[in-house]
Amino acid sequence: MAERTATIQSAHGLHARPAALFVQAVNDSGFAVTIEKDGREFPAGSILGVISLAINQGDTVIIRGEGDGIDAVLDSLVVFLETDHDAA
């Protein structure tokens, strides 16, 4: 099991468009990744799960997954989470 910690940069948090893009990226990776905030953990490939966590700018989340090649996937997801997608 590999895990990474990321701090959300998008001004509006992981809502709306950034959330949809994140979920898309997780599903495109083909790995079962989870996302945890404040002790609640959901599948990161679920839009309903991700938006249920109400993740705001500055929140810290932990993403986890396992399997061959998971490290590269988690790294790229961290880059995604730590980019401000609301900046024009």
Binding site: H15, L48, I51
Partner: protein, 550 residues
Amino acid sequence: MQERVLTGVGVGRGIVVGDVRRMPDPLPEPAQVNSTLGPDAELARATSALGETAQDLRERGAIAGGLAQEVLDALAMMADDQMLVSDVKNRIDRGATAERAVFDAFAGFAAILTMAGGYMAERAGDLGDVANRVIAKIMGVPAPGVPQSDVPFILVARDLAPADTALLNFDIVRALITTDGGPTSHTAILAREKGLPAIVGAKSAEVLVDGDLVLVDAAAGEIILHPSAVRIEAGLAEAEARKAARDSATGPGRLADGHEVQLLANVGSAKSAAAAVEAQAEGVGLFRTEFLFLDSDTAPSIAEQAEQYEAVFAQFPGKKVVVRVLDAGADKPLSFLTDAGEENPALGRRGIRALFAHEEILRDQLTAIAQAASKTQAHVWVMAPMIANAEETKKFVALCTELGISVSGAMIEIPSAALLADHILAEAAFVSIGTNDLTQYTVAADRLLGTVADLQDAWNPAVLKLIREVGRAGVATSKPVGVCGEAAADPQLAVVLIGLGVTSLSMSPVALGDVRAELGRYTLAEAQALAEKVLTARNAVEARAIVAGR
């Protein structure tokens, strides 16, 4: 076939002939019964309906493109969401039917989003919409929502929700008819904004079925079922004549005797400001600033705000732009400004009350407005929403003065403010009447609630008497009295408002032509006489009839 006349409240002046398409009624809640098919069959029904719904939404998104595609893609993601699918499966394993499992699973997630509030609470409505599509597919009935069609039609519905209208194609939908809903319903507001003829609250339109030929005359509030060839010809000729009158009325607003009436536009962004310029608006009577703050967890910075304001101001050099400071609360909650959990948010700390409670947000906004104003040639005025009395007005005006805004005023939306307009105008440079809220507070009927829609009508003589008080105060103090609610966009009501002492009208740009043309038919004395007569009406229906029978 025999002609039949169905009546309702007309919106706009258009006349349209076309075939009826009905919007299917909402689905009933699926019964809570144990499955007789067994879990495997139920799961197959549910998963194929979920998958097909997601695919439908994605296909429609691909056709629509742009912002609509983003919305539809997001809905599609909800339909085939893995947590949702496993929740549905669990419910089916415990004996639920496919439709009930889908209904409950979506409701569960909707409840989570509603609790989260703000932006996510709005998405809860989307979930309900997706759930209905899936359930309709399982049950093999037409999906709720606007019928899909390539040929133009006249849409008949009980009432339309924002989710229904977001994707309306105005090349295909030629007119709207609702059996419920009133003049301030979402349907009516949308129709006015888009210049689409509509008849709302037409109870007798329940008889209309798909394929019925109807003539819709919005100015008369009439739907003619099975119109004769003669009737159609006359109707279309009248439509041409009205269009010609509208097109020939150009330039600044004035009555038949030359009395000037400033015709202004309501705008909500730099983009809608361009439409206002095109429609020959003499300025902006209501610049809504909420667009900058919605979907936000914090207020935008002064620099960010100033940039957006400047983009609007710059389009009106030498003209008036009236900015309404942030109007949050009630139907427009903002997490950083309004209190959650008020039992009665329309009567709670909304509008200027919320801003006074968070004065730093108000100060930042006024500072940004003053900065943007100093960079352009627009005459920028600022007004506060939900003012109740002279004390609040005085406090707001003082803040504006301190932060460099010289012309500041109050909105009249609360009956107390209308009755005390003389005292308010002693403090303010101008007032502007928001007729939607003024109507809802006068008749104590939520403007967005269909069940009390028949009460929400700005033609109500009680509302007009309050407006008369404001008009009188304006005349006595020689200060401008504007109207920036839906009422200003109703050409006949606009005449009455001028007769009551209103000096400027602000509306969605598309309504300007019809109002300009109608004002040109009356002198000030005639408008005043008409207003006096309308004030003797017992109710809104009688008030309308007095003007129609003039």
